[in-house]
């Protein structure tokens, strides 16, 4: 009955924008495949990009569960991302200042070098930070959180930059292992795999070596992270919990009048989203193998914003689509600079982000892929034989782009 439970059957009743997005995505994939086969795009780099897209999708999932679900404006995505990234980096990197700090302290040194510890620490710090910023702002109007979170992002960036004893300051953290380092089988998988040489088009061979297998592992990791998060969010979104959040988003007073403790719900949504962002940071650390204060630049925050508002607030598939768009902006500007126009990619990205934000708010404030169908716990509707589920989307009935 819905595109979520029956993807094949749903292809026919795609809405216009859905078909459009599907078409563009497919064309883009074909383009990449062609680039791959001709050797214009190295397979390892391609997998890195896929990992990056997955990372941004994860980041967008996080923001979606705040802004999309409950209407919370979080402008410190980069801070929560950075906390996850630095947590993972500091606990695993060979060049981490923690190595020196923990020296001689009982027990602590044995925690270093374990990616799972880094993950837990990163998430824990994000959890505390989310609660600390939530307490003063979530009782107030939505714009207070926007302002305060912009400040939080700046403060976290300042701390990372200035507390050299902990973070290495502007030098960043190097010597980070892959996420699976030390695991049985997976830890040695990239080295154990034989180098492969493919030649689809004569004369331009494609080499698959250790780095490729390492990148492949990363892609699998981000697929696992994103898949898990998607599962959790999908269930949450269709539940009474998600329904209260959506009510808060439209009319918080109504939710309060109906006996919902909206402060608590907003806090849950905020913490959940922040944890997902930190998870994205953890993954990024093990993908990029280097973390620096530049990764905490506000631009990361607004990449996630573009992805979420473009995809459609509250729409998890939209966030997925948004992740792909971001990587296109990031890499496209780099490509343009290398190949065609010698324009500094930094302001160009800024310009693109700005223009996309304005254009979406102007022409499609509900996003390209807004959540379509009614969100009731699936078995509750199916249980009644689903005689009366709506024939068409909740939002799209007015024909494509009805502005709200």
């Amino acid at each position: 009955m819905s595109a979520l439970t029956d993807p094949r059957g749903a292809v026919e009743d795609l809405t216009r924008p859905e078909g459009w997005v599907l078409g563009v995505s497919a064309a883009f994939l074909l383009f990449l495949l062609a680039a791959l086969l001709t050797g214009a795009l190295g397979p390892t780099y391609f997998l890195f990009l896929v990992g990056l897209a997955g990372m941004y999708a994860l980041l967008s999932f996080g923001l979606n569960s705040q802004w999309g679900f409950a209407g919370l404006i979080n402008f410190s995505v980069a801070a929560f991302f950075g906390v996850g990234a630095y947590g993972a980096a500091l606990f695993t990197a060979s060049g981490s200042p923690l190595v020196e700090l923990f020296e001689g302290v009982p027990l602590l040194p044995s925690l270093l070098g374990l990616p799972i510890v880094g993950l837990v620490v990163g998430l824990a710090v994000a959890f505390v930070l989310a609660i600390l910023i939530g307490i003063p702002t979530l009782r107030l109007r939505a714009d207070y959180l926007a302002i305060a979170s912009l400040g939080l992002a700046e403060v976290v960036r300042l701390i990372v930059l200035n507390e050299r004893w902990l973070t290495n300051g502007s030098a960043g953290v190097r010597g980070i292992p892959g996420f699976f380092a030390g695991w049985p089988v997976l830890g040695t998988f990239p080295e154990a795999m034989p180098g492969l040489r493919l030649e689809v088009i004569p004369g331009s061979p494609v080499l698959l070596e250790t780095a490729f297998w390492q990148a492949l592992l990363n892609v699998l990791l981000v697929l696992a992270f994103a898949g898990g998060v998607y599962f959790v969010l999908r269930r949450a979104h269709r539940s009474p919990w998600g329904r209260v959040l959506r009510t808060i988003r439209s009319d918080e007073d109504l939710a309060r009048a109906l006996g919902k403790d909206t402060y608590s719900f907003k806090m849950q949504s905020f913490v959940l989203g922040s944890l997902i962002m930190a998870l994205a940071g953890v993954f990024y650390t093990h993908l990029n193998l280097y973390v620096g204060p530049g990764d905490l630049d506000p631009i990361t925050t607004f990449y996630a914003w573009v992805a979420v508002i473009l995809g459609g607030s509250g729409s998890n598939r939209g966030a997925l689509f948004g992740g792909i768009v971001i990587v296109t902006i990031r890499e496209g500007t780099r490509f343009l600079n290398d190949v065609a126009l010698p324009i500094d990619p930094a302001p160009l990205r800024l310009l693109l982000i700005g223009v996309v934000i304005i254009a979406v708010m102007r022409y499609r404030p509900q996003g390209v892929l807004p959540p379509q169908r009614e969100l009731i716990w699936p078995s509750a509707v199916d249980g009644g034989g689903a005689p009366d589920s709506p024939d068409s989307g909740v939002r799209e009935q007015k024909g494509g782009g009805g502005d709200e």
């Binding site: 009474p240 959506r246 439209s250 009048a257 109906l258 006996g259 716990w377 509750a380 009366d388 589920s389």
Partner: protein, 262 residues
């Protein structure tokens, strides 16, 4: 003078000496009254008499400067709206905002209180319980929609129905929260006469089934026909309370309306 809360036999809501001022201006000025269980009590008064402020104070949206509010004998003064709701007091709003992206029955499902599925943890630890209660709530929502004779709207987008229909849905949804006393803020403002009549029938029916009502309404004909007793508010304090007949013939009430009117 004050024949307020104490005079009631079994008050489900008792407001005592409630005060609230904004920037030095008293919006609620030592208001005292009670709502007897099982009644439909009307709350009227000229524009600016402080009816909406009083509603916000009772339901916990404003914090009073002084005085108390009791629901079912429990002091709820200064509590958050959701806590007040837990004691059985639910309110509606004058201009309900439409829940974007929801169907009517989805919007209805926000009504039931303490759903197991509202706990994030239980979505994953006991999905069976969540599904069960969701099915039950959905059935209940559809039953109430049918009672209200608007079941044909169930799967319509909430943004597509008329303002009057929205008021009906709001009333129906409030009933899902199983209130002991329901505060209605201008239930028929901007509603066409046919729907208004329907609303009146529904309120009366629900009242007969045991729900107590307190309603603000500007439509005199509507409120005089439906409510008894009627509390008259003027400049933030209770001017008088009585039967529709008594209020209609009270000179002070007529003065208040004439003096307060522009």
């Amino acid at each position: 003078m004050s024949e307020g809360a104490l005079a009631k036999q079994d008050p489900v809501l008792a407001v005592d000496d409630l005060q609230k001022s904004f920037g030095g201006l008293a919006a609620t000025d030592h208001a005292t009254f009670g709502v007897e269980r099982g009644t439909i009590t009307g709350l009227i008064g000229p524009n600016g008499a402080g009816k909406s402020t009083l509603f916000n104070l009772i339901s916990g949206f404003y914090e009073p400067d002084g005085g108390t509010v009791e629901v079912n004998g429990t002091d709820v003064t200064g509590m958050e709206p959701y806590e007040v709701a837990d004691y059985g007091l639910i309110r509606t709003f004058q201009t309900p905002r439409k829940l974007e992206g929801m169907t009517v029955r989805e919007a209805m499902l926000v009504g039931p209180r303490e759903q197991p599925g509202e706990s994030f943890r239980r979505l994953f630890t006991s999905p069976g319980t969540v599904a069960e209660s969701e099915s039950a709530n959905l059935a209940e929502a559809e039953r109430i929609l049918a009672e209200f004779e608007i079941d044909h709207l169930a799967t319509q987008p909430a943004t597509d129905i008329s303002g009057g229909q929205m008021k009906l849905v709001e009333l129906a949804r409030a009933m899902l929260a199983e209130p002991e006393v329901l505060l209605l803020d201008e239930p028929v403002a901007g509603v066409n006469p046919t729907l208004a009549k329907k609303l009146k029938t529904q309120i009366r029916r629900l009242n007969e089934q045991g729900t107590t009502f307190l309603l603000i309404e500007h439509d005199m004909e509507f409120v005089m026909d439906l409510a008894d007793p009627i509390v008259v508010l003027d400049q933030g304090h209770v001017l008088t309370e009585g039967t529709p007949e008594g209020v209609r013939n009270d000179d002070r009430v007529i003065d208040a309306y004439l003096g307060g009117g522009a």
